[in-house]
Symmetry: C2
Subunit: 350 residues, 2 copies
Amino acid sequence: MPPVRQPSCGEDDDAVGRNDVTQTRTRLISVEEGFIIPEVVDELRRLAGGVPSMKSGPIAGPFMPKLLDIGAGRIAEMDADGVDIQILSLSAPGVQKFDPDTALSLARLANDSLSGAIKAHPDRFAGLAVAPPQAPAEAAKELERAVTKLGLKGLIVNSHTGDEYLDDPKFCPLLEAVEALGVPLYIHPREPGAGLWDGLMAMTGFTVGWAYAVETGTHALRMIAAGVFERFPKLQIVLGHLGEGIPFMLQRIDNRYPFEIGVTGRTPLPRKPSEYFRTNFTVATSGMNFAAPMRAAIDILGADRIMFAADHPMEDQKAVVEEYLAIPLTDAERRQISELTARRVFKIAV
Amino acid sequence: MPPVRQPSCGEDDDAVGRNDVTQTRTRLISVEEGFIIPEVVDELRRLAGGVPSMKSGPIAGPFMPKLLDIGAGRIAEMDADGVDIQILSLSAPGVQKFDPDTALSLARLANDSLSGAIKAHPDRFAGLAVAPPQAPAEAAKELERAVTKLGLKGLIVNSHTGDEYLDDPKFCPLLEAVEALGVPLYIHPREPGAGLWDGLMAMTGFTVGWAYAVETGTHALRMIAAGVFERFPKLQIVLGHLGEGIPFMLQRIDNRYPFEIGVTGRTPLPRKPSEYFRTNFTVATSGMNFAAPMRAAIDILGADRIMFAADHPMEDQKAVVEEYLAIPLTDAERRQISELTARRVFKIAV
């Protein structure tokens, strides 16, 4: 568990101790934590023809035992590493590579399985639903079931689905359900879609560190550019990896947008691109628990748009927590990023 | 001209005045400043069939009068805006869209024209050569002429050439010449190559702010991934726009690299990806003169790897200088970024 807060001058040790348990101690909520179920593994293996590759997946082989554990073993690791609550989601690419019927039945299975794990450990786990964007109306219904019946806290989509992105009007029924249910949509990376594949995959070694961010950041910007947040103004998106590079470029994007739109003769969006990013997006620190980009993200977005994630088991949770705790933050920023932003975005009351 | 430094306590006004002229006053050197020559404009228009578009170019229409002026008008603007020295380069896409013969003759013309402007104002202008990567051996010879005979300070390449990147061994003769001449290679953005086009250009309004950075950042990372800096360890690259997003992602790239290389079974590079970026790259602030990304870049790369650029005339030089001077920096950082890094990288002695 995270270190207990020390009493400051004039405070009673006991008072701190009491506050500690009931309200004062900052909980560490980790919001992008993967799991998988055997049925999804089997289907991914079948699709890959038994030959895992970066494109046909899964590449999660070495992580499989930890991905499959959503019980005692995972909780023991959380205790050892200082993580209070994990928000679990089906590991990428989720069910997005399967035919719609298979995807839907595996989504139901995964959501039920996740719900079971949460019911067994309601103070340690929360979870995001998976639903197949390739069947938008059915996905909307499954999301509704997962949120209203199973108590899941949002939806995760692993970037493109069949090389299509959520700015395509075909996905409107799903986005409409997300907005209506008042839950966030976590857009998680996967390998690049066809329109980015050749350019990003011609190099070796930078797929997760660069290509995933380009794929997912581009996805988010496509949604802004297409006016998705004019159509769904309350839609809340979560991006991992401190915003997939977007915060760093946000002011430049704003600066060049009016001229570019002017050249095309199209009608510009009524708000600056950054305004959609600041009001419709929240970012998680997954894979990016480093001081300099964190400080930039705080300066650009504010700590109330940032929340901690370890990306367990893809990253070493213990090392990540240590890196995160070593980042210089004010007490208020620490509490906001460790706990408060996640509580607001995912409506975590435990 | 930039404001004259005020004397501090105990200093003699006259002494400050003298230092000011001879050594103490920080000069503002702006390193990514565009120009064009009429012959290149004509050839770009001919290629575009008279119909400028984002892909067939030029989109620089509104900037044309300022791009064509490399004399008194430009210097008057520099004086008004507080820029001491501009390092000029032929505006993107340079000569990279032309057939090799046309490209070579236009490169010679552009380099001669630039050299003439610099000779007329040697204390206000320096310049980068252009040479056609599509004819690597001839480009190497033209670069040698431009550096040794014309006094130009480096080479500018506008990202891909015919959808090929500088990690392709065919470009070795050009990189070899760059390294041998001890001058930097400025990799400037252009519209995305074929392998990124469909994915990045499906949205409107974020081409310069996002797609250009992805194109150019990917180009730089391809060179690192391919081991270009093992083959040419002294090769120095300059990237604009605070490093095209790479600094923000650099620690994550390092973190994921060993695992990814392990999965492929290939031999990893002998150094961490970030080590090549920190030792073989310098970044300019063009289009990114904003406090938060600047602070992150300083924390990640150090001020001695950062230099000021206004991106005149694509950006409003006066506004950019004001934005830059409003960024909180220590005096040492300001001097480094305004002047000293550029002097070292481009060997500017004036």
